[in-house]
């Protein structure tokens, strides 16, 4: 409060000046802004230090050989091309399984589901998002063991395990995106005499397309580095295998683990390759995230 009453032009005590310039309020503002900025920096430190460390240790392991050769028959040398291909193939098969199931489940939940079945499904989807990845891996292994006998190791088993982790993520994000599509668009379609399923495929899904793609890419990014389920399902192998239905398939996550755990004679080279594999995984996740953003921006529909 000012000690003397001030006037501002018309001779009467000014109400505008009565509360001063608000120094206290501004001081609080500065303090809070600083605290929040500091918290943000603190949160970013582990992220940047992680990326920095992995890059620092992984770059020495990168080489043309790393990307083009597999490790068959080579002691201590060789590359990780089989691991890279393995990761890509296993992830691709997992996506092929998860995307249709996930999106169709989301369509059911959002467009058709009512009452108890819907509530039960939503509950189970929530439970599935919490499945530990090793459990998913063991389940997939046990499932294939029934048909193929003990000790089975296949690329596709890993894909099944990963899809158990991926499906609930796809369902959740797809459901959110479908909910955002406004009802008045569906009504406009119904009013033209369009059956419900066609309204969904021709109006709702295209309108939600960008969001669906983003959700799927985020789900992929989530599972691309999963190690535990793949350890028990896809096995360890040194040579390139591009058939998910035939024998063991190496992948980057297990490869990194393996190189670190059993480095063999040339320890440093093995460690370098493990870090390089980790770096490649981070790069893949980053590329997926950037691609997701680009797709979203390119294809999003402004809904008035």
């Amino acid at each position: 409060m000012e000690s003397s009453v001030q006037t501002l032009g018309h001779g009467e005590p000014s109400r505008l000046l009565a509360s001063g310039l608000g120094w206290r309020r501004r001081a609080v503002n500065v303090v809070m802004t600083t605290l929040i900025a500091a918290a943000f920096v603190l949160a970013m430190i582990p992220l940047f230090s992680l990326v920095f460390e992995v890059a620092k240790r992984g770059i020495p392991g990168l080489s043309l050989e790393f990307f083009t050769e597999d490790a068959r028959g080579v002691v201590g040398g060789g590359g990780a091309s089989h691991a890279i291909m393995g990761t890509l193939i296993i992830t691709a098969v997992a996506s092929v399984i998860s995307i249709p199931i996930g999106i169709m489940a989301a369509i059911y939940l959002n467009e058709y589901g009512t009452g108890r079945l819907r509530r039960a499904l939503t509950f189970f989807v929530d439970v599935m998002t919490g499945i530990p990845s090793i459990v998913a891996g063991l389940f997939a292994y046990a499932l294939f063991e029934i048909f193929f006998g003990p000790g089975i190791r296949l690329g596709v088993t890993g894909s099944v395990a990963l899809s158990l982790l991926m499906i609930p993520i796809v369902i959740r994000s797809a459901e959110e995106v479908l909910k955002i599509v406004p009802d008045h668009l569906r009504e406009a379609s119904y009013a033209l005499g369009t059956p419900k399923w066609k309204t969904i495929t021709k109006i709702v899904l295209p309108t939600a397309f960008a969001g669906l793609v983003t959700g799927v890419m985020i789900a992929i990014a989530r599972i691309v580095g999963e190690t535990a389920p793949l350890l028990v399902t896809t096995g360890v192998v040194d040579s390139m295998n591009t058939d998910p239905f035939d024998g063991r398939m190496q992948n980057l996550a297990v490869y990194a683990y393996n190189e670190y755990r059993s480095p063999g004679v040339m320890k440093q080279a093995a460690y370098d390759k493990a870090w390089a594999a980790a770096l490649t995984l981070i790069a893949i996740v980053m590329i997926l995230n950037v691609a997701a953003r680009l797709v979203y921006r390119r294809y999003k529909t402004e809904i008035r």
């Binding site: 009512t114 668009l185 009504e187 406009a188 009013a191 033209l192 005499g193 369009t194 309108t207 402004e302």
Partner: protein, 298 residues
């Protein structure tokens, strides 16, 4: 009714068997180019229609005849059930979870709520334009107008589709403004243009009745006038039912007016009076009607 059954047609109706509704039940395909240019618009009759949302009785015992090739305006204060009633005429009311219809609604004598009738078939004959213009955002102007064809009919040739799009846009008085940018997105037009686009989209499937739920309430006065003029022209080809809050609009644009009212909130809305527009506005029978149109309430 004048002009009801004597609309000129370019090909005799007797070629196709049955009535439009029963044909539509089993035959989802339409060939717009083969349709006669002026198909007779149909009469809608309702008898004792009660509308519910779950247990809530929203509209009570409506019995009326909607004359073909006329504009019927439904007026009344907010919440009295006009829109609910309108949506029961093309089986959109039942899309709301828990909503239910009792009573009879017939299109040219056929009960649209008959158990054997596919609601989709009804909606192809009774089109609707909504309060907020809602062009499909993922589609161009051309595709929006053709949406009814793309979504319903079997393959239509590009030439036929072009014809339908142009005819509908001309019919909606939008052709001159957009003919050079048909591939632009539907959302790139002004509000009034978007609403006319929605009207073009509705008439592209050649319904017999056009329902309009406060089509001008989101538009500026100039656009409103344009749409009202359009309605006046469209009635020669379609039966039009329009819900409006705007009494001046009802007085300007309609031939027949139906006044709905609520006794109090919580009670169902009901039809108070219906008759030729000038009579309703200058010499109504019921006192409720007179109070409403003279602005004493609502």
């Amino acid at each position: 009714m004048l002009g009801a059954a004597t609309k000129k047609r370019s090909e005799p109706r007797e070629k196709k068997g049955g009535t439009p509704l029963s044909r539509a039940v089993g035959a989802p395909s339409t060939e717009p180019a083969a349709k006669p240019a002026g198909r007779p618009a149909k009469t809608i009759e309702t008898r004792g229609v009660d509308l519910f949302y779950g247990d809530f009785h929203a509209v009570e015992e409506v019995t009326m005849t909607i004359a073909p090739n006329k504009v019927t305006a439904l007026i009344g204060s907010s919440g009295c059930g006009k829109t609910t009633f309108l949506r029961s005429l093309n089986r959109m009311h039942e899309l709301t979870p828990g909503a239910r219809v009792e009573g009879e609604v017939t299109l040219d004598g056929e009960d649209i709520y008959d158990g054997r009738v596919d609601p989709v078939a009804v909606r192809r004959l009774v089109g609707m334009v909504f309060q907020q213009p809602n062009p499909f955002p993922t589609m161009s102007i051309y595709d929006n107008v053709a949406a009814g064809l793309n979504l319903n009919a079997k393959k239509v040739s590009k030439a036929q589709k072009d014809g339908v799009v142009e005819r509908s846009l001309r019919g909606a008085h939008l052709w001159d403004e957009v003919s050079d940018r048909l591939d632009k997105p539907g959302g790139s037009l002004s509000g009034g243009q978007q609403q006319r686009l929605c009207i073009a989209r509705a008439i592209a499937v050649e319904p017999e009745v056009l329902l309009m739920d406060e089509p001008c309430s989101a538009l500026d006065p100039v656009a409103t006038l344009a749409v009202e003029d359009l309605i006046g022209e469209l009635k020669s080809r379609y039966t039009i039912v329009i819900v409006t809050h705007n009494m001046q609009q009802a007085a300007r644009a309609s031939d027949v007016t139906a006044f709905f009212n609520l006794d109090e909130t919580g009670k169902p809305g009901h039809l108070v009076e219906m008759g030729p527009t000038d009579e309703i506005f200058t010499n109504p029978t019921e006192k409720e009607t007179e109070d409403y149109v003279s602005g004493r309430f609502g």
